[in-house]
Symmetry: C2
């Protein structure tokens, strides 16, 4: 039960990795009368949006804004002044750009601090173990934990150990990389699984398929019934070394020191700016979004300032072009995604009274803004048909997928309840080389790729927001907890 809940949570925390293609075949779609012709009429405005953003006056501006933002505020950990400063800046800038209804909405969020930390193999030889404490982990005592090591590849293997064997040990979990969705349970759950048998601390192989000695952080989730023990990620290389040594029978001792602390929850804010619709203002809203917070390593340029900026600049550039659709396009920069979708959850709670009417479609980009190739769409088969028709307008793109599942992190709650969703397909094959690591920086972002991403985002959102009909949805009567 714990494992299921945590795995679900873990899967939410970042990109959706595997997508079940829906059965609806766009070639067999029957659209409402006249809709195909109506959509085709948007071709000139779509072309104009692309021209302005990709080769016209806005070319390079998404990248430039993203650079200035990440250079100015650095990493934006939930609970940090840096995140709140970045939010204040976004508000001021969006007001200066003339966006509509610029404001923030508060959310109570976790406040975890990393502090100083290190890990070291001290026997049978000395080696520093580069590491990153996992988000929400407790720290060690000031002198650290110095303990013998058990190394396993899986939870199944760990089941073979008795509490007597585990008591007081540092347990190292070294799961083979099987994709993020399938492997991240080890980051989420290992601490409680090991603590349940009396472990003193846990180390986990970083969630990455390739490494240059790089640790990758991310949040864990403690079982409330189990003692909380410190947990950190080590590099792929060190994890493999420890696993081989343990299997050879080498007795190993690790010294782990973490000053991590969970402080009292604090207040952060979702950040909102709009291009208000000329007909519908606060109903049938098209949300374009990314998350403002990041981990405290790198500068979170990829995860997820890139998603924030293509959403932000899509609205900014549409506004500057004098385009105002029928419905409102609302840019939302979620807070506290990394600590467990705390910003999105609070937003949903605050908007749940009227959300069936308030929202039309949710966009989120949270799986990289590398070279864009198309979009992922989720929703019912009627929605698929309309998305497929809109997709034909997008110049130079041919990679569109349709799913009945979810395609976003923060927008997952809405998608699961029947709202249509859209996310950015992009050449993110190496996304997990950098994810939650010191490698998540502006080095990964390319001006032209960002221009094309912003243009695709802007044009798709504009057409959806301006159509004569809403995108179909089958929203259940769920209320958030």
């Amino acid at each position: 039960m714990l494992r299921e809940r945590l795995a679900f949570f873990g899967a939410l925390c970042a990109i959706l990795v595997s997508i079940n293609l829906a059965t609806a075949d766009p070639n067999e779609c029957e659209l409402p009368p006249g809709l195909r012709e109506e959509i085709a009429q948007y071709q000139p405005v779509v072309d104009s949006i692309f021209q302005h953003i990709v080769s016209g006056e806005y070319a390079g501006k998404t990248w430039q804004s993203l650079l200035e933002f990440t250079d100015r505020f650095g990493p934006r950990l939930t609970g940090s002044k840096q995140l709140e400063d970045a939010i204040d800046f976004a508000v001021q800038e969006m007001i200066a750009e003339g966006l509509d209804n610029v404001h923030t909405e508060e959310a109570i969020v976790s406040h975890w601090q990393r502090g100083r930390e290190w890990a070291e193999l001290v026997e049978p030889f000395q080696k520093n173990l580069p590491m990153l404490g996992l988000g929400k982990s407790v720290g060690t005592a000031p002198e650290g934990i110095r303990a013998e090591v058990i190394v396993v590849e899986s939870f199944e293997e760990f089941e073979n150990f008795t509490a007597d064997q585990v008591e007081g040990k540092i347990v190292v979990f070294v799961p083979a990389w099987a994709g993020y969705g399938a492997t991240v349970q080890y980051r989420s759950e290992s601490a409680s699984v090991a603590a349940n048998k009396g472990a003193a601390a846990v180390l986990v192989r970083s969630m990455a398929p390739f490494s240059i000695g790089t640790p990758h952080t991310g949040t864990l989730s403690y079982d409330p019934e189990v003692r909380r023990i410190p947990a950190a990620a080590i590099t792929v290389e060190d994890a493999m070394l420890l696993l081989r040594k343990y299997r050879r029978g080498d007795k190993m001792i690790i010294h782990l020191k973490m000053d991590a602390m969970n402080l009292d929850p604090t207040i952060s804010r979702n950040t909102i700016g709009e291009l208000e619709g000329h007909t519908f203002k606060n109903t049938s809203v098209v949300v374009v979004s990314g998350h403002m917070d990041s981990w405290d390593v790198g500068t979170g340029a990829m995860d997820d300032a890139g998603g924030v900026f293509i959403s932000w600049k899509a609205v900014t550039f549409l506004k500057a072009m004098g385009l105002r659709p029928r419905r409102t396009i609302r840019a939302i920069y979620w807070t506290a995604e990394e600590t467990g979708l705390e910003g999105a959850d609070e937003y949903e709670k605050q908007h749940s009274e009227d959300e069936k009417d308030e929202f039309n479609v949710f966009f989120e980009s949270d799986s990289g803004t590398f070279k864009p190739t198309g979009l992922d769409f989720s929703g019912n088969s009627d929605a698929h048909c309309i998305f497929a028709e809109i997709a034909k307008l997008m110049p130079g793109f041919n990679d569109f997928t349709y799913t009945e599942g979810t395609v976003g992190s923060d927008i997952g709650n809405w998608e699961r309840r029947g709202f249509p969703g859209v996310s950015l397909r992009n050449k993110n094959e190496n996304y997990f080389w950098y994810h939650h690591s010191e490698g998540d920086t502006m080095e990964l972002e390319d001006p032209h790729d960002l221009d094309r991403s912003t243009a695709l985002w802007a044009a798709t959102a504009y057409v959806i927001a301006d159509l004569s009909i809403d995108i179909p949805k089958d929203v259940t009567d769920y209320k958030p907890k």
Copy 2:
């Protein structure tokens, strides 16, 4: 003058990056009468060596031995017990394998210890700066150095700063990557260049063309006339961030803490095992080599346990095959390469009386044992002609280069004085992704590539050691200092 000396030293410390092709054209070679036919007669034995090592009973064994060695001893910093334990192990193993004249020869070497260390940007925002203190750097006071920052791209740019401006600051050097040979001067010299104007400490962009938030260490060289200040490498990403911020006028403060210490010089050992020649024992020796020490990050599998093991196993497998050439093949595993060729220098000093007669050709592999493609040869034009003829025997290889310069690190002294040299060409385009970092581990080594490297090494050394004539050389009368 200082800069020239340090640059020269820096270039020695690792692989030779650019090679000047010699003018000798192997197609126009005139070989001594009968030599071409003599060399051709080695084809069956060369084929047999390859067969045994690549697909026969020794297949996979170089990799297996390398794995067990690096897993057992970990990183092997000069001055460490781990290095000396590894040397003891190599001696025992070579004796067990029945190699000839197994022994060590002492060298007095540097003894630097890293200790605990960290760096942090504290203003205008907080960010941990992953770093590695540079080898031989002094540490900071216990409370660290907290100082304002100057960031420059080059020594030329730094010349514009006055001592008043630099006094008490942390200077960050962010040279553009122009290849290792051209860039490494910034690692070697920055500390003294900055200290000369009163800097408190130095940070240098890691010597790497690509990074996932990975710092790369390496040795520095203090000008004896200048105050020694702490120096460390930071990641490429953070260096670029600091440079951009500085150029925008952001005032930055960094807190740097390093417990690094230079202890009294200590004794280490070059490790030697031979396949003794049936005719010449201690003259016209063919040396095959790599260096045993590594940095204290990763496990030094690439730099340079791979070079050690292809040299070691070449001799082991020739011996096991019952092949005994005319001349001795001597495997040497140099100590203290990373701290400045200290082991090779001492070996040269001890062997300088008779070295003109003692040595024939020096092999060293110290630029990776990725997929092998051929060999680099250095020497005079007569040597080139013979090497080119031998190269034709090597099955499946076609990438051979000839130079009048040097092709090795530890063997550079000999090559510069006219001894022929040989090193391994291999697909090491990404060598500097991993070099001197936590990414230098067994993940980079492939069993089949190692087999082919060992076979190429063994077959080439065997033919050279068994030829009726020595490889020509023009040795000067230099005596080492």
